[in-house]
Symmetry: C4
């Protein structure tokens, strides 16, 4: 992804993907992507309907937060995206949705256990929940603080092995090497959340699958020894 035009197109497409996949209720959703060569981030504009949104409506900002190219305001969640791009070096796209089941786990403040291979093919373990924000984080810096709470949650884990998080009382943030991969991860997350919810109701005692079984699936798709490309 070398040109800004290409990045705008792929960010637009990721925004359309999450609508097509029914991960967006009303306007609760946004996607972004980054060009790591010059630290330019492209993100969905605020207050534009998904139906009429065009590639050229995407907003370009520097990773330091300064506006570069825009005729519309960036998504109000921009500052969370910025924190994630700064902290997680290898990610190339970020998605935020309020998709139903992922948001249910975020609201219930329950991590999503890895109950099966659907989950293990994309996430190497449970999807964590952030701590709740402290009162002093709910002021001006709220959107940034949300990103910081996410980064804190990953202090001991690799964000490309668990490319999603549940913000307590809010909803999921999901990422990937590209905006397209982030959108796919957001779709898989929602389905894994739906199945985990029902699995827990059906058998409250069930344990996650073994780490060996999980890695049998995760590692054939990811990492140095992946046996098939994504």
């Amino acid at each position: 992804m070398s040109s800004v035009a290409g990045l705008k197109q792929s960010v637009l497409q990721a925004n359309l993907d999450i609508v097509r996949d029914k991960l967006v209720v009303a306007t609760f959703g946004n996607a972004s992507g980054i060009d790591r060569n010059n630290n330019h981030i492209v993100i969905k504009p605020s207050g534009v309907s998904f139906e009429t949104m065009k590639s050229e409506d995407m907003v370009t900002v520097h990773i330091d937060g300064s506006l570069i190219d825009h005729h519309l305001r960036p998504s109000s969640d921009l500052d969370t995206h910025l924190v994630l791009y700064r902290a997680f070096d290898d990610i190339g796209g970020v998605i935020h949705t309020h998709s139903t089941y992922a948001t249910i786990f975020a609201q219930a403040q329950v991590p999503i256990p890895c109950f099966g291979t659907t989950h293990a093919d994309y996430f190497r373990g449970e999807i964590p929940v952030t701590r709740s924000l402290r009162s002093e984080e709910l002021g001006e810096r709220y959107v940034t603080a949300t990103g910081e709470a996410i980064v804190e949650t990953f202090s001991n884990s690799d964000p490309l092995e668990i490319p999603a998080v549940l913000v307590a009382g809010h909803g999921p943030f999901v990422w990937g090497r590209t905006p397209k991969e982030a959108a796919l991860n957001a779709l898989i997350l929602e389905e894994c959340a739906r199945m985990a919810w029902h699995t827990m109701q059906l058998n409250p005692q069930v344990a996650p699958i073994s780490s060996m079984y999980r890695d049998r699936h995760f590692l054939r798709k990811h990492g140095a020894h992946a046996t098939y490309g994504q």
Copy 2:
């Protein structure tokens, strides 16, 4: 919204919105709007299918209940709408549906707690349930009494801060500054009800989000200090 024709169009659109958003089962749904300048209310006619309904089929009545302009009978829920417009000065549109999850809470007589920011962006706290109607309210004045029970429920709260209610054993009434806003609120209410239901099953001990977190979201969209328009 100055002309009756414009109001009829926006009421028709709100009626179509709730069908598009799958909030209406069979014919259980109706939308209305008010022109506060002359206290004219426009409401869906009774017994006309949503598919063939036209702007000119909308019925106009005075806020005192007298018919002004109609070739069809008004919705059988008219009297509830009238009570709401009389009691809640700032509302401009009212919606009634039997949308699935909101109706489930109404039937279970359980308020919908504010478990997350999806809810807090539109409703400043839990969605209340009315008291049950008394036997003597189930006669001729039944539809009016339904409205009165709603108004009673809001004796200590601002209807524009909580623009929805669950009528016990019946279903939701939702409102807003315009018919369009009421229809959007009805959609968000249904999604919040769906997520709250599943949140409570997943974690029966979970508490609502803090009032500070809730207001961080509600107040950036509503009130004097809103940072972005609706």
Copy 3:
């Protein structure tokens, strides 16, 4: 409905209605109607896909079970329909589906309580479950015995006040004054079952609405004092 051609058309339409309303999984569904003047019953043929079914494929049989006009075999559930038409004088259409939530109550052998006005507008009280069939009823006369168990369930109630039943371990049979009304009742039944299921999980202690509230709704649509036509 005087001509057989008209009845065939309305039975075809009822069969298409239940597919459109997603009440039919695979081929689990059939609709019939009766011309009471000559006791001719028209029913869906067996083994024809809903997509390609035509009005002239409908099978005509006498209420005594003898075939009158057919180039295809009648639905394998015919004998149940016959028993219902013989026992319930005022019904004009019968529908059988395996619609998801109604079938869930049938499988769980739990009646569907009247928890709200959606239910009360169409059904004057809970939807009953039949007794289980006895071993000796599972032989040759099985399909007829199913009908007899339904009729037994209504020995003390009016089938037009409760126009639906859940056959234990099987699924719903629904009826009405016409095939079209039966199809609408089947749709409302499914939605009431869905809402009742979720209502019971949310509040296991909740009681049905009062008989007075229930009748306030049922009787404005049905019976001698109905205030609006169907």
Copy 4:
């Protein structure tokens, strides 16, 4: 099914059926078929989107696993399909999906009881869950070992009487006399799983239907005395 071209077409169609029936999330699904005359198996290729897949993209392999005709790699689940065709002589098609409710039972490691006639029309008893795979089965031979665990589960039952299984922590494999029948069984399985899940929540004490009631349904569609063709 005499020609490879015909088999490729019917395998393609089965792959499209499971997408149409919403049994496939992302790319989690594949169908195959066998020509028993020469032991040729046709299976979905790996890494091709369902939208653009053509009949000629299907991969042909011998039942011993050797590639016969392909310009694409076979599905990564091929080895499981091979084990099933070798062990179950009468099956002609195999389907694997991660369909939501069947996968939920697989994850919860709970068999799907036969609670009703929808289930009994297609499956003569509960749908079993395989044992968990042992650590030594999670290496190179993992995909084959999955098939072996399935075959082990059927050591005392007839795979054409129970044409489906839940692989623990993974999802369903389903089969039939043809790819088309396997795809239909996969759809019925998903609906039976959905209804069983809700039945168990509604009435945790409910028992499966009697074997006599079950066989009344299963045997009229299957076996020597079937009274109507499939």
